[in-house]
């Protein structure tokens, strides 16, 4: 998943960033509304983690602007505002979820996945592909009873293809979901991860459309 993290407290942003990147997600940090708008202008995100109290205004302004433009990207508000009225205001402004600081990073990641799945039109966490059983909520993959271990990048590629199940995802689209701004991208990185996945999942699960990209049926 590609995630926009809008958080102005450096220590909080740093921890969330590291945790999500460690889970194989591409995360772009923005410390204020201006940076968040700039990032949204050039990239498509699967989800946004949005703090409310930002130096140049409330995150709700950004959220309302997004919804006014009919942008349906899942937005999870992450804030220290603990009043029920704050939550109601956030949800009314178009947020999909609301997480109160201090929070559990694993829970935030799980909520991000769930909202991204729902936005992609397939909210089911359990998927079967032949003899493969995929638990997207727990980011685990089984063949029969045996678990197949994937690296975070491999999982990110598989999860992205599952999110677009039945549709071809271009190499560029996959790179966008794997890498944040400023990351060094090896020219054949996607091919490498797809190749590794095929060796673990078996051939035929991920199909190649020459010149177009990859898909999972």
């Amino acid at each position: 998943m590609r995630i926009l993290l809008v958080e102005d407290t450096p220590d909080v942003a740093d921890a969330v960033l590291r945790f999500l990147r460690g889970g194989g997600h591409a995360v772009d940090p923005a410390s204020d509304l201006a940076e968040a708008r700039a990032a949204l202008d050039v990239a498509d995100y699967d989800a946004i983690l949005l703090d409310l109290a930002l130096p140049d205004g409330s995150g709700l302004r950004l959220l309302r602007d997004l919804r006014a433009l009919r942008n349906t990207v899942p937005v999870i508000i992450v804030t220290a505002a603990d009043q029920i009225s704050d939550r109601i205001e956030g949800l009314d402004a178009g947020a999909d979820d609301y997480v109160l600081k201090p929070f559990d990073l694993a829970e935030v990641e799980a909520r991000l996945r769930a909202h991204a799945r729902r936005a992609a039109g397939d909210p089911a966490a359990q998927i079967s592909l032949g003899e493969l059983r995929i638990d997207r909520a727990a980011a685990r993959l089984f063949r029969g009873d045996a678990e197949i271990r994937l690296t975070s990048r491999e999982w990110a590629v598989l999860d992205s293809l599952l999110s677009a199940r039945g549709r071809v995802l271009s190499r560029r689209a996959l790179e966008d979901r794997l890498y944040s701004f400023g990351d060094e991208i090896a020219g054949n990185a996607v091919e490498v991860y797809v190749s590794r996945l095929r060796s673990k999942l078996g051939t035929g699960v991920i199909e190649t459309r020459r010149g177009l990209g990859y898909l999972i049926r």
Partner: protein
């Protein structure tokens, strides 16, 4: 507590008493006027009767019969003698006379040589007057009753809006700070709800400010807590780098600073004034000695002492926060200057873009401050009566504290 008096009861009683006294006074006045008018009327009657009798009488002594009520007795005096049974002695002069319980009118005709004396007893006249007054009373009593009833109803109706207003206040919850309605109150009472609404508005503003402050305080405490917690989780998940402990320590230090300033603010609100006061110079000496290096330069203006009516702890909180702000947001050491007044100035070099952030919990870009320090300083200054001003002058942040409004004269040595 004595029982409260009733405005309605008092108004009704006083109005009834007033109307009754007025009516009685009117009655007395009427009686007086009536008596005077009746006297004139009856005198005229006596005179006219005397003229009529004189005209119809002759020397022989015959008199035409007169209506018995017009007068009580008569005397016809002729050269032949007297006719009639008048109980008063014969009069000599014409005109009205008052004689022992009688009002007499005498009229003579020298040509005929006769004279007539007609008289009405005073008792009869009083009786006639009383009859007239009785008639007046009988006619006036229902009017008086109607007046009293009208007074009672009018007072009730006039006071009804005030009573409704009082009942609506009585029925309000203690925590209801919404404006009170005053739509049908008379102009004389409008200032009450207006003043009350202003007062309620101020209370609501205070309550809202307190609520906002508590919310913001909770918010500011949660953020560093979240940072520390997230860094700990990162370490537990094995995704942390070697900077994670540093991040965690920074978050905890920030948490500590906010807690400390919130406690200071609470202390500042607890009490500032102290009539025994303190010596500002002495407090500054101790405070500056405790400052971490590099310590601010101190110019005491050669003052021997600077007594003020303020708690030394409050002075330390206020000046300490200014010094801490200077250290946290300045780019160089602070300078502290004390002058007669006493007036204290603390200044330090700052970035060209620096400015004082006066909003409590307002964030400014590139600063971890949330305006609590300035809030504490301002609150203490306001409560103590210290004139406080902030300025950016030539790349230096200057905080000026004028203690002269609370200065005390120096003790005699």
């Amino acid at each position: 507590m004595s029982r409260a008096w009733s405005l309605r009861g008092r108004l009704v009683r006083r109005l009834v008493l007033g109307v009754s006294l007025g009516w009685l006074f009117g009655l007395v006045l009427t009686t007086f006027v009536l008596s005077h008018e009746m006297t004139e009327l009856l005198d005229d009657l006596l005179r006219d009767s005397a003229r009529a009798m004189l005209a119809t009488s002759s020397v022989e002594g015959t008199a035409q019969a007169m209506e018995p009520e017009a007068f009580g007795a008569f005397r016809l005096v002729t050269p032949a003698g007297e006719l009639g049974a008048a109980p008063w002695p014969q009069q000599t002069g014409d005109g009205a006379h008052d004689i022992a319980g009688w009002r007499i009118y005498r009229l003579s005709n020298p040509d005929k040589g006769i004279a007539v004396e007609l008289g009405q007893s005073d008792a009869w006249r009083r009786h006639e007057l009383l009859e007239s007054i009785e008639g007046l009373l009988v006619l006036m009593l229902p009017v008086l009753a109607v007046v009293l009833l009208t007074v009672r109803r009018s007072v009730g109706a006039a006071l009804a809006p005030a009573l409704r207003f009082a009942r609506s206040l009585e029925g309000r919850r203690a925590d209801d700070l919404s404006p009170v309605a005053s739509t049908d109150l008379p102009a004389e009472l409008i200032p009450i709800p207006q003043a009350l609404n202003l007062y309620l508005q101020r209370i609501e503003q205070y309550v809202e400010a307190e609520r906002q402050f508590t919310t913001n305080a909770a918010h500011e405490l949660r953020t560093p807590l979240a940072a520390a917690s997230a860094q700990a989780q990162l370490m537990m998940a094995g995704r942390a780098d070697d900077q994670a402990p540093w991040h965690m320590d920074r978050a905890i230090q920030r948490l500590g600073r906010i807690v400390e300033r919130l406690l200071q603010l609470s202390r500042a609100e607890a009490g500032i004034h102290d009539m025994t006061g303190c010596d500002l110079l002495r407090v500054l000496d101790v405070l500056l000695r405790e400052q971490p290096a590099p310590r601010p330069a101190f110019d005491d203006g050669d003052l021997e002492s600077a007594p003020i009516t303020m708690r030394p702890d409050a002075v330390a909180l206020m000046v300490g926060n200014v010094l801490r702000n200077a250290a946290e947001h300045g780019t160089g050491p602070a300078t502290v200057t004390l002058r007669a007044g006493p007036v204290l100035e603390i200044e330090n070099p700052v970035d060209a873009s620096a400015q004082f952030e006066h909003g409590t919990f307002h964030k400014s870009r590139g600063s971890e401050g949330v305006g609590l320090g300035l809030t504490i300083i301002q609150k203490i200054a306001d409560r103590a009566g210290v004139d406080l001003s902030f300025a950016m002058i030539g790349g230096r942040a200057v905080v000026r504290m004028d203690f002269s409004p609370i200065a005390r004269s120096a003790p005699q040595s």
